[in-house]
Symmetry: C2
Subunit: 418 residues, 2 copies
Amino acid sequence: MYKNVAGEIIAIGDELTCGRVANTTSRLAARKLFLLGYDFAVMQCIGDDPALIGRTLRGALEHADFVLVTGGLGSTDDDLTTAAAADALGLGTKSHPVLAMRLRERLAAEGRDFDLPLFSRFAVLPEGAEPLDMEGRMAGYLLEHRGKPIWFLPGVPSQMAVLLEDRVIPELQGRFPQPPLRQHLYHSCGLPELDINARLKALAGRPGLHLGYYPIGFNVDVSLTLRGGSAAANEALFQEADSLIRARLGAHIFGESDDSLPEVVGRLLERHGKRLVLAESCTGGLLASSLTAIPGSSRWFEGGAVVYSNRLKERVLGVPKDILDHFGAVSRECAAAMATGALARLGGDIAVAVTGIAGPTGGSAEKPVGTVYLALAAKNGSGPQVQLLHLHGARAEIQQQTMQRALDTVRRALISTA
Amino acid sequence: MYKNVAGEIIAIGDELTCGRVANTTSRLAARKLFLLGYDFAVMQCIGDDPALIGRTLRGALEHADFVLVTGGLGSTDDDLTTAAAADALGLGTKSHPVLAMRLRERLAAEGRDFDLPLFSRFAVLPEGAEPLDMEGRMAGYLLEHRGKPIWFLPGVPSQMAVLLEDRVIPELQGRFPQPPLRQHLYHSCGLPELDINARLKALAGRPGLHLGYYPIGFNVDVSLTLRGGSAAANEALFQEADSLIRARLGAHIFGESDDSLPEVVGRLLERHGKRLVLAESCTGGLLASSLTAIPGSSRWFEGGAVVYSNRLKERVLGVPKDILDHFGAVSRECAAAMATGALARLGGDIAVAVTGIAGPTGGSAEKPVGTVYLALAAKNGSGPQVQLLHLHGARAEIQQQTMQRALDTVRRALISTA
């Protein structure tokens, strides 16, 4: 039998309660643990106030099976978590001998002095607490109070993420095994949420099965969760639902789990031995930036031109002046000429060109804000293929949707030639 | 005399506690109210659970002077806030007659039927609650409990922001006038946090004055807050501190309040009648993207080349093959040739070129990851000026810091020619 386990998160820091910094650590922890079957009933942000820290911690221990506390573990004067927590639980604090020794050794090797308060305070923990990183590279410890684990973690999101993954999750799963949960995430592009919903209607209302829809511009993430049955029953239901989702959404699914659209496009380009070039006007470098954010993108990304002015469209890509004069920069003809010009002048195997009106100004009755032409050209292929998009939203949204559609167009071209 | 006023925020929704959606409404409210002198001691996120909603609301009313509750006010089955809150406070619920009438009229005009539960539920409030939008375009009401105001607001961030600004803040300021508060935000680039700290040492420990430092890559935001004195005393102290900050940080300050570095660079380019061109290698379009995110950037941004491959550096910018062979793409010589090539081939008045190793791979003992050359060239100017940067962090951080330094270099060049 499994016990229903609920945790609480307490994030500590004045920078959170005054709204200056977004509380990303709590969301990250909640997401990770939710996917493993642990619920958080309550997530709190509180300021650096010892009495409040104590009251909140005691309150959480009344209701929760485990508690995560983040922030306020450093060595400066506004780091009050350790003293406040020890006080609230009726414990003293003392220097952890092993942690102090390791830290002293490591600092000595770097020519620094452990006995400075800045460093020595770091090893001072509530009595009975066990450090999570015995080398002292990151703050954090586990303290058990009346059978309930309390993890104290750093407020720095990257450090917190490492300790959560390496130390908290394995210990939590050992202490509170959860019923089998089967979950999968599908990433789609090109089909509106309502259409996806209609295509997956056969799965609606199936007991133990939950579908979630999360649109982000042109992309819609679909989550499939199986819960409540045995591992075998969940797996059988998963196989059935997974087959149906794949059959109904087909090539609209561009990836799964942690995949991103730029990564998927990069992998496809590499697999096909093709190099991509870009000719960007209204996206202004966003498309290139999304691709070069990926490590190793030089293997399949040649480069691009951000041809914001008409002069550069002529000069760098060789778009004929006639086209610009006659049809304008935002036209089917210009997009096509940009794509063929990028292939001819920049090289590469596949070229994508985008030109449009991202707004907020620059629109007209004939070509309102959100009018975007997108062209794809391939070396040795037939002439460029041009799409006209009518997009809505603020400037950033129009640029993002154009980027998604451009990447998805490359993806679909590559899988259709497979 | 002013009373020290502390509020609590309770954000309700399973999508928040499972980490799927970031809780942006609480941060927004905290930021707005903090700047007006209201503190939030506690910000909570809780799931759609009536017992928990009731318990949390009662707990908040014990400690706080006012409470903001967001989310769960819609008309679907998982919107439980109104019933749970009424229950927790020992109140019944009933249809608000004026709201119901107005909503009925508005829906009738649109050919829709108020008596559908979807609409009629919308007018059902706890006894004694007053709707914040009597036309019923947005959910939300004010309920007073034992002299403490509780504002129930929609979870949709844009609606919440409107009601906060138009209804909550004026009422809050009427009920709990706050002592005068004077606050200002300075944005700096190029000086490490510790150096800024040292330069502003004269202000440390001044009663009623608080300095905050918030580094983001190469940028450091400095906040100055004056609190506790009369409006006149705060203003006098502000003038003194403001003069000192400006004198000590000088040209390191690039902007104030809502300014961003790309916007400041754009305004300077426009004011000087100069057009910028870019030659990006390791930033891969990020620099162009940060500039073209700004509406109207076509007035001062000509365009750029994302020359990711060596072939494109030659082909688009005319970087001599000798330089690439002899010094490599990540070299002082290549950066200089990229900048002069961008000016010659792309046009414009000022060119910035960046070439470096963003990682995680590609580094060597001689040129480790984070080695970046940045060149600036101006039309009719002397030869290009090249900087060597040694950056640290993940790929995205190295790209971001390179972008900041590049923009700041353009900014400093423009103000020095003023």
